[in-house]
């Protein structure tokens, strides 16, 4: 397979294993560009990429922008203020207007699940979901896969633990699809208030004790605890949460010796992950960020070349 027969990238759920492998292989071949003195190729010259971010984001937006620029695409960043008009009007009217300017790719982030899918029905441009509510964040999962592929050389049989607010996490969902499709064994852990119903039907094992989840793990993915969700009676205090779910050197001993620690960022030091671990030898958190560029270049390249449209 050399082309991605899809108009959009809305989630990992819709991808086949072959399509995932294509994106990863493409990312690996594009990564070499980043080591050059002039980090730019003319591949997407004349293409227009719109970064449409309805929800605040620094790193994902920046990553997509740099990725597009390294491929010579023209990029426009648009972050509509949610407060100026109602969100509903923003999405539909903005989508139609931007669609009428005939961009090639729209990268969209939105606080509500399903918004990218709705957008994709209204525009002919390729739509890349850069995170929608608690639904999916496919580019994050793909960069996670790339990071694991490089560190471990395989997916089959790996034990991957995802720990934190699974219910509210789009990263968790995309990672669950991604790693299970590639043959890894996925476990999720968090307090029951953060484990959504039926999660095991996605092919994972759910635990309420972090120790059970990370036992013999090859990969540990710690999720950011969103402090604002605290008001919804999900746990008593941040302090107590970290007592039971913070990844510390002491419990890390339960994992495999060559375990790698990942985090989609931004991290809350001392809440879900201790500083020693975040900055320690097992951490690949910054490599994830670098791989993010290569993966997003691959996605843009595969979709903007338009074979799926």
């Amino acid at each position: 397979m050399t082309t991605l027969a899809k108009k959009d990238l809305l989630g990992i759920e819709q991808l086949t294993r072959e399509e995932i492998e294509l994106i990863l292989v493409t990312a690996q071949s594009l990564r070499e560009i980043q080591t050059r003195e002039i980090k730019k190729v003319p591949t997407l010259r004349g293409k227009t990429v719109v970064n449409l971010f309805f929800e605040a984001s620094t790193r994902t937006r920046m990553s997509f922008e740099i990725a597009a620029k390294r491929l010579s695409a023209d990029t426009i960043n648009f972050s509509p203020s949610a407060s100026s008009i109602s969100k509903a009007e923003t999405l539909i009217d903005t989508a139609r207007n931007i669609g009428a300017m005939l961009p090639d790719v729209i990268v969209v982030r939105h606080s509500q699940a399903g918004a990218p899918e709705m957008l994709s029905r209204m525009v002919s441009a390729a739509v890349i979901n850069a995170g929608d509510g608690a639904h999916e964040h496919p580019s994050q999962a793909l960069l996670d896969l790339l990071t694991v592929k490089e560190k471990k050389g395989r997916f089959e049989g790996l034990k991957v633990a995802i720990v934190g607010d699974i219910a509210a996490s789009r990263v968790a969902r995309s990672d669950i699809y991604a790693f299970t499709k590639m043959g890894a064994e996925v476990r999720v852990a968090g307090p029951p208030t953060m484990l959504p119903p039926g999660i095991e039907r996605l092919g994972v094992k759910a635990y309420t004790n972090i120790r059970d989840a990370i036992a013999d793990a090859d990969v540990i993915m710690m999720l950011r605890i969103q402090m604002e969700r605290h008001s919804r009676v999900l746990f008593p205090t941040i302090r107590e949460y970290s007592q039971f779910f913070c990844l510390t050197p002491e419990i890390l001993r339960l994992a495999r010796e060559d375990v790698i620690i990942m985090h989609p960022g931004p991290i809350n030091r001392g809440v879900e992950i201790s500083s020693e671990i975040a900055d320690g030898p097992y951490s690949v958190i910054l490599e994830q960020v670098t791989n993010g560029l290569a993966v997003r270049m691959a996605i843009l390249y595969l979709l903007a070349s338009g074979s799926g449209r």
Binding site: E13, S86, K87, A88, L91, I92, H110, Q112, A113, G114, A115, E117, M118, D132, G133, A134, H135, E136, A167, R170, R173, P196, P197, G198, I199, R201, L202, R232
Partner: protein, 428 residues
């Protein structure tokens, strides 16, 4: 006028056979064995069709006054007639709310002038649907309401609900309860389960409905009120209802055609036309409400016709308002269950006619000699593809667009007057 050559089905009078129907002065004048009607002259030939009592929808939102951009009494009653309904009970969540006799009178006045079917207003239980103080139920009863309901604004304060049940009982008014613990619902926008987990949408657990069904059953027992549970949707609610009925509590219930037909999988494309409250449930709940409809635990099928403009529905799933329209798809969807052998025809028609009429205590839903000549003629084999652009409703919010269904109303007669005749182009 005669309606001849059809199969007359009148569940209330236990009639199902080849009978002709004579209408005079707006009333049923005779039900006679086939062949007694005239061979020519003023007659409707219903060969191959069913002659049934005009359908009764006990749960409709006509949106007038206040939300005429969604629906009006004129358009809503036309949609009803086109769907075979000759009587509709309209909910109180208008603007202003129907919580005073003036609004009740306004609705009835409009219905007389612009409506094409019978309109029976439902009054609010509490002033402004705020759940705090009682609306003027007695005066509204005098003005013409047939029941009270705060519908989607479930009265969360049990003490207010208790007093409302007691007070409504004085006037013999049925209390129609939309059962939902709104604290437990939180910001949920669909049924909480595997599908909501997959889609990343906040869910409403079945327990949010069942807790309130349970509370209201207890309050009905405490107060002796007549309780009617609107759009019941879970297996747990069915279980509670059966248990309460076995103990002799005066309770009835309705189910909507969509809760009999769709599961929460319909939300999978984030189609806002699959968003309603109560939300679409998984298969086991759908099966449970079907069973309850067949065995009589559920007395009525009601549309919960809830028009919203495209502008309101073409938004992110979370932001979209709840509800779908149902008057023009209800009968074909119910007949689908009949054709599939899941629902006996007699039962289906009873739940659409005598069932709801009895709950509202209105003299409708049967074809007894001397009763109002509200008659619907159904072509059970009519093949149709649901096309919302051709609806009489002002709104288009249906998840059934494009569905191929069989059977529909072809002629609707209200008080002896034909208001809808498909052969003559529709609404007359």
């Amino acid at each position: 006028m005669w309606i001849v050559n059809g199969r007359l089905i009148d569940p209330a009078n236990k009639i199902d056979g080849d009978y002709d129907l004579r209408i005079e002065n707006g009333r049923v004048a005779a039900v006679a064995p086939r062949g007694e009607g005239p061979r020519e002259g003023e007659r409707i030939d219903a060969a191959g069709k069913w002659i049934v009592p005009g359908l009764v929808d006990m749960h409709t939102h006509l949106r007038e006054p206040g939300f005429e951009y969604k629906e009006s009494i004129g358009t809503g009653t036309r949609a009803a007639a086109s769907g075979g309904f000759t009587s509709v009970a309209c909910m109180a969540n208008t603007n202003p709310v129907n919580d005073s006799p003036a609004i009740t009178e306004f609705i009835l006045g409009k219905a007389r002038k612009e409506g094409v079917v019978n309109v029976f207003p439902i009054g609010a239980v509490t002033k402004g649907l705020a759940g705090e103080s009682l609306a003027e139920m007695g005066e509204m009863k005098v003005a013409g309401i047939v029941g009270v309901s705060d519908d989607g604004n479930t009265i969360m304060n049990a003490a207010v609900a208790r007093r409302a049940f007691e007070y409504a009982g004085m006037f013999g008014l049925v209390v129609i309860s939309h059962c939902e613990d709104r604290n437990l619902s939180e910001e949920g926008v669909m049924h909480e389960g595997f599908v909501s987990t997959r889609l990343g949408l906040p869910g409403v657990p079945a327990a949010a409905e069942e807790i309130m069904v349970s509370r209201d059953l207890h309050l009905a027992e405490l107060t002796g009120a007549r309780l009617h549970i609107a759009h019941l949707s879970t297996a747990g609610s069915v279980r509670l209802l059966r248990e309460a009925r076995d103990r002799g509590i005066d309770v009835t219930a309705e189910v909507s055609p969509h809760h009999l037909t769709l599961t929460d999988e319909a939300v999978s494309t984030y189609d806002t036309n699959a968003k309603m409250t109560p939300p679409l449930r998984p298969e086991r709940d759908v099966q449970a409400v079907r069973d309850a409809l067949v065995d009589g635990t559920i007395d009525a099928i009601a549309t919960d016709h809830a028009p919203h403009s495209p502008v309101e529905k073409e938004v992110e799933f979370n932001a979209a308002p709840n509800g779908i329209i149902g008057l023009e798809t209800a009968l074909p969807l119910v007949l689908r269950l009949v054709h599939e052998g899941r629902l006996p025809l007699d039962t289906a028609l009873r739940r659409l006619t005598a069932g709801p009429a009895r709950i509202l205590r209105i003299d409708k839903g049967h074809l007894s000699v001397g009763s109002d000549a509200d008659v619907t003629i159904i072509d059970p084999d009519f093949e149709l593809e649901v096309d919302p652009t051709r609806f009489y409703s002002k709104s288009r919010n249906t998840p059934f667009a494009g569905w191929k269904l069989r059977g529909r109303a072809v002629c609707t007669i209200v008080g002896g007057r034909t208001v809808f005749d498909l052969a003559r182009g529709g609404i007359l």
